[in-house]
Symmetry: C2
Subunit: 189 residues, 2 copies
DNA sequence: AGCCGATCACTACGGGCGTAGTAAATCAAC
DNA sequence: GTTGATTTACTACGCCCGTAGTGATCGGCT
């Protein structure tokens, strides 16, 4: 059972991902969390404090998600990696759409307010090293570089698909080719 | 000399790219355009109308920018393309940073509000076909696919660089490798 | 010159926002 | 079981927002 603050922050992420930055207010968070008015104010005095806490919560959830994924799927080839990534992208665009939108909304926010960058950068670095290790494990000769390229590609793809969605069946071939091309040194197959 | 409405919309894009969606209000636009209070209201009655007009203006400016670029640089090889792209990315992250941030803010907005998608999608499609033709001209055997992959990659790269900037000198090698790998059929050199 | 339509500058107002401050409730410790 | 401190629920206030409405100003047409 998440704590009260976590419930509020999860509600805030949902508001952010379904109604945008403009709608992210104390009152909207209270309502989304089905809590009495003023609850969000008690924990996060100012709006800036709320946004900072949302970033922290988001990072924590992201980390937990990767670790869960890491436990389930462990691709052993480029095609396996592509399949896993396709699954991730499909989930990000479908059931988790709000979370994905919130993610990019936070990126834009961080581009505007440098004090939000640190936690996001730490999280990104963690993901990078973790994914690098996985890439190395399946044969990549330059895992850091290939990992960075792949992450850039996937985020660009996601952003575009969010804004003007294409047919979902087109995702797999696109991602498969990108993986093979951007990570040419992993064991293909 | 841009018309009065264009001046207002350019100011709106600047507000969006430097202060975010939340700050995009009629009054803020008036101030940024150094026009008397109420000017933005006269042209764009509601906030939604303002945002829609900003999208339209943005698309028009983008189109003009490509056409200008097309007149100047005409790469003839993968390395030339990479150099041109690196120049574009540097400009997008430096002098044009606000415009770039505004761009992604609008993407997020379009992810939330489907009625904004059409103009952005049209613009993206135009860019795609134009860039595809250029890719084909320098030898690409599958220009549409390679173009899509490249655009996805560049937007992801830009978004990441905006949120947690890295050293600018790292851009060129990253982009060069990505171009070579994602567009393997263009004449290298 | 004189009118007329459109554009512009400015004001007015209701609503919702962020924020601060206060009562109530919960819990720990003794 | 009472006390005291922390957490929770709620209220109050001032500010700024989006929006509507009203004169003033300008240009084209006859």
């Amino acid at each position: 059972m998440p704590s009260r603050q976590e419930q509020l922050l999860d509600a805030a992420i949902d508001v952010l991902g379904t109604q945008g930055t403009r709608a992210l207010t104390h009152r909207a968070v209270d309502a989304a969390a089905s809590m009495p008015a003023g609850s969000a104010t008690n924990y996060f005095k100012t709006r800036d404090a709320l946004v900072s806490a949302v970033v922290a919560r988001f990072v924590a959830r992201d980390r937990a998600a990767w670790q869960a994924i890491a436990g389930f799927v462990q691709p052993t080839s480029a095609d396996g990696l592509a399949a896993a990534l396709t699954g991730y992208v499909r989930r990000a665009l479908g059931p988790e759409r709000a979370v994905t939108v919130a993610r990019y909304a936070l990126f834009v926010e961080a581009a505007l307010r440098p004090e939000l960058r640190a936690p996001l950068a730490v999280s990104a670095q963690e993901l990078r090293t973790w994914a690098s290790d996985r890439l190395r494990a399946i044969g990549s000769a330059d895992p850091d570089r290939e990992c960075a390229a792949l992450l850039d590609y996937v985020d660009g793809l996601l952003l575009h698909q969010l804004s003007f969605p294409g047919p979902p069946e087109a995702l797999e071939p696109m991602i498969t080719r990108a993986v093979h091309e951007l990570c040419p040194t992993v064991t293909s197959g």
